[in-house]
Amino acid sequence: MMRKHIEIGCLFLLLGACQEIKTNFELPILGRNEIVTKEVNGILIKDTISHRIADFSFINQDSAVITNASFKDKIYVADFFFINCPSICPEMSKQMYRVYEKFLENENVGLLSHTIDPSYDTVAALANYADLLGVSSPKWEFVTGDKDQIYDIGETSYMVVANEDENAPGGFIHSGAFLLIDKKRQIRGVYDGTIASQVDLLMKDINRLLSSYEQ
C-alpha cells in the first residue's frame, strides 16, 4: 500500500519534471544528418555532418542580391509561395505578416519568402506585392531567381515540396510550411503557415531560439 503511494508520487514527480523540460527545452535540430567517410592521417573515419541550408543567391524585391550572408547573425523564417496562388498563399501571407509585425523592431529576425513561380513573379511583381502588403526589405525579403535553384533548395535544404503541376490550383503543388532557421543555417522548427495556432507556436519558438543566443 505504502509502496504504491510512493510509485504514484514518483510518477507525478516525473510528470512535473517533464512539464519543466517542456517549457525550457531546446529546439531540436531537424533534417537528415549526412554520414561521410573521410581520410585523416591515412585512416578512414566516419563523420556526421548535420543538415544545413545550402549556399544560395537570389534577387529580392529591390533588385538586391540576397545570399546566406544576408542572414548572417540572424535567425529567419523561410517559406515558399507565389503571387497568383489562389488557395493557401493568402492565408500564409496573412500569418507571415503577423510574424513581421511582432518582430518588426528586432533586427535579429528576418523573413524570407521564395517565389516558386519566378517566370511570373519578377522583381517588379514582387516589389508590387510587398508594396500592397506594406512591408519592406531587409525585414522581409521576397526573392526570385533561377527556377531550378529555387526548387532545388526547397526540396533538398528546406525539405518542403514545391513542384509544378497543371492539375493543382494555380498550377503548382506546394506546402504551406514555415521553417525556422538558426544562425548556423540549421532547421529548428517546421510550422503550418496556414494555421494561426501553429504560427503562435512559431513566434514562441523564435523567442526561445533568440534567448538561447543570449546565454
Binding site: I88, T122, A124, A125, Y129
Partner: protein, 152 residues
Amino acid sequence: MSNNRLFLFFFLFLVLSCNSYQKPAESHLPENLDEASKMKYTQYLIQGKILYNTNCTHCHQNSGEGFRKLYPALIGSATLMDDMGPAACLIKYGTKASREASNQNIAMPAQTELSNLEIAEILTYIGNSWGNQNGFISVSKVATSLVDCATH
C-alpha cells in the same frame, strides 16, 4: 415514459429550430417583404454565406474587411454598390493577371465552376452584409450580367 416525453420535446425543438430560417447575424433583410420573398431572401443569405466562406474568405476575410492592400474590402465596395453586373463577371471570370505587375492590384482568380444560382446567392450575401445594403440579386440578373463579360 417521462424520459421518452423529454426526448420527444427535444426532438420537436430541434426540428422546429431547423425549420425556422435564421438569417446570418451580419446580414440585412428588408422588413416589408411577404413571407415567400422573405423565405427566399433568407435562404440566399444562408447559402451565400456558406459559399462565401468556402470560396472567398481566405482572401477577403470573414467579415469582408479584406487584407492590407492585397485583397480589397467588400464592405462599401464601389464595384458591388454600383451595379452587380461587373461583380458577377469578376466572381465568375476573375481578373486577368498582368505581367507588367507594378503599382496595380494582384489578380483575383476565376471560379468558373460556380453556377448562376451560386453567384446570385453569394452576391445577395456580400451585397447585404456587414453594413452593405444592396438588395436581392436574382439568378436571372446574374445570367444577364454574365452575357456582357465574355471579354474578361
